[in-house]
């Protein structure tokens, strides 16, 4: 995917670019949020978290500490049992751990799905899908069914599907967790560029410290259940991040600290 392509296509297809002009408008904020499941499981307790536009917050934590619960709360799929959440959900992107593609739909039809659900007409839908497919590098695969794609390609389709709505808040639940290292790093690079381009407010759950530091402007570490925010590390590396930045001393220093806290709370 070339830089020029990336810059020209979204606008041509009507995917509005978003820069700093929107900062302050839409945020995601958690105030003293707690969640107790119906069976009495306390998943989250006293979570305070703010995400501003142009901020991508990575969440790491031991498994079962409530990371997915945090995203479900942010998306509105779950209501908190205590505290308050404020999110602009008009244009919400949510990439699940599983690609959740409809197996009977082609790549293109899958990417068009959300626009379809939002009542956008066929011509515009098609244009949005085409641009998003181009953006994730799946041109030429429009007519394939998901069963014929690799895991990495399916994740790209899932990403493209969310991109069609040009989300202002973007939630990711370990989207690349099941992929091999090389595919994961390449998708990280691409997502990093998309983030700079679109300037959404992002919440990215991952179990990879490397991925967390590489993608985010801030890494938060959650403690074991009931999950709370145990620590927060700003990542002052410039955006967009180049692949080599993974070997930058600042990068490795932050990764080391995050890992240390993660070991402590597990």
């Amino acid at each position: 995917m070339s830089e020029a392509l990336l810059a020209s296509l979204p606008r041509a297809a009507g995917l509005g670019m978003r820069g700093t002009e929107r900062s302050g408008l839409s945020t995601l904020s958690f105030r003293e949020v707690g969640l107790v499941y119906g069976d009495g499981t306390a998943a989250l307790e006293g979570v305070d978290l703010e995400v501003a536009p142009g901020e991508l917050v990575a969440v790491v934590g031991p498994s079962g500490c409530g990371k997915s619960t945090l995203l479900r709360l942010a998306s509105g799929l779950l209501e908190p049992t205590s505290g308050a959440i404020a999110v602009d959900r008009d244009q919400l992107g949510y990439v699940f751990q599983d690609a959740t593609l409809l197996p009977w739909r082609t790549v293109r039809a899958n990417v068009e799905l959300l626009a379809e659900l939002h009542g956008i007409g066929p011509a515009r839908r098609r244009a949005l899908a085409e641009a998003a497919i181009e953006l994730v590098g799946l041109r030429g695969f429009e007519r394939h069914l998901p069963a014929r794609l690799s895991g990495g390609m399916r994740m790209r389709v899932s990403l493209a599907r969310s991109l069609t709505l040009d989300p202002s808040v973007f939630l990711f639940d370990e989207p690349f967790g099941a992929l091999d290292e090389i595919t994961r790093e390449r998708l990280n690079d691409e997502l990093g560029r998309l983030f700079v381009e679109r300037g959404f407010a992002g919440l990215f759950v991952t179990h990879s410290v490397q991925e967390a530091v590489f993608l985010s402007t801030r890494v938060v570490v959650m403690s074991a259940r009931p999950g709370r925010i145990a620590a927060s590390f700003p990542v002052p590396l410039p955006l967009p991040r180049q692949p080599e930045c993974r070997y930058d001393p600042t990068f490795t220093a932050i990764a080391r600290e995050v890992s240390a806290v993660l070991r402590e709370v597990s």
Binding site: L77, T100, L114, E116, L117, P146
Partner: protein
């Protein structure tokens, strides 16, 4: 290449995957698929012949040898002239009954899916309905509706109905929770979720229901005809006549032909399911080795 091109075009037209170079030709593959059931037929016919000839002369009428069934029961002019129209009538009765069962079954499956409380309220009675011994209530129905086509039809529907709403409901409810979240997240209404998610997801289950019901519809038709003994004779009525006249060669021919009807229905649904969801669901390829089915 010049020869292959029209073929490729033709397959593209009917929506089949293009033939891949290096793969076996379609003819060879079809042969390979037909070989096992054909071999099995030889084994079964052999066993039948053996079993028949092992019976003492006085009891051989219970299981006439296959060749006699063929010669006397089917190939004989008089038998054939009785068998063919009977086959047609039974086919008609079971097809109409199956269609009614499909429509009613899908409608009730949809309603039960939409109103969960109704499902809980009525499911026990659906199960009870299925357990009704049809032959026991048939006389009552004869009194209520008379000795008509409709009465036979009701019997077919009663027997064939149950698997359809059951399988359909199961399919509708086995939608992937992640996909459901996706639709809910984007505030899709019930109808949208049903039409674009639940219904297509349920097709593999639904067709399993269809296939079971198709077999049952044939059984229902034959049983209905045999009980009511009225109107132009179908296979069931013919069956009873041959039984009365101790014409067992014809009786077995009759039996074979009704089995054939069941097999025909089954194959029809298999072909339809391969067309509808063969490209994305493994169950449409249940007769192929797992390695060749589409992956997830």
């Amino acid at each position: 290449m010049a020869v292959a091109e029209p073929l490729a075009e033709a397959t593209a037209l009917v929506g089949l995957p293009p033939p891949v170079a290096g793969r076996r030709s379609g003819k060879a593959r079809r042969l390979r698929r037909l070989a096992p059931p054909l071999a099995m037929a030889v084994v079964v016919l052999g066993g039948w012949q053996l079993a028949s000839s092992s019976l003492s002369g006085g009891r051989q009428f219970l299981l006439p040898p296959p060749l006699a069934v063929w010669r006397v029961g089917i190939f004989d002019r008089q038998s054939f002239d009785a068998l063919l129209p009977a086959f047609g009538r039974t086919a008609e009765l079971s097809v109409v009954g199956l269609l009614v069962a499909v429509v009613l079954g899908m409608a009730s499956g949809t309603v039960l899916y939409r109103f969960h409380w109704l499902e809980r309220a009525s499911y026990p009675y659906l199960v009870a309905l299925q357990a009704i011994p049809i032959l026991a209530v048939a006389p009552l129905m004869a009194v209520a509706f008379g000795y008509t086509f409709v009465t036979k039809l009701i019997i077919v529907v009663m027997i064939a109905f149950f698997p359809i709403p059951t399988a359909f409901l199961l399919g509708l409810k086995s939608v992937d929770p992640g996909q459901q979240d996706l639709f809910r997240l984007h505030r899709a209404g019930w109808l949208t979720r049903f039409w674009k998610l639940a219904l297509p997801s349920s097709l593999p289950h639904l067709f399993t229901g269809f296939r079971i019901s198709a077999g049952l519809a044939v059984v229902g038709a034959v049983v209905g005809e045999e009980f009511f003994q009225t109107g132009a004779p179908g296979l069931g009525m013919l069956f009873q006549q041959y039984l009365n006249y101790v014409e067992y060669d014809q009786l077995y021919a009759c039996l074979l032909v009704s089995c054939l009807l069941g097999v025909a229905f089954y194959s029809l649904f298999t072909v339809a399911s391969r067309r509808l969801f063969g490209s994305w669901h493994a169950s449409a390829h249940a007769d192929e080795p797992a390695a060749r089915r589409p992956g997830r």
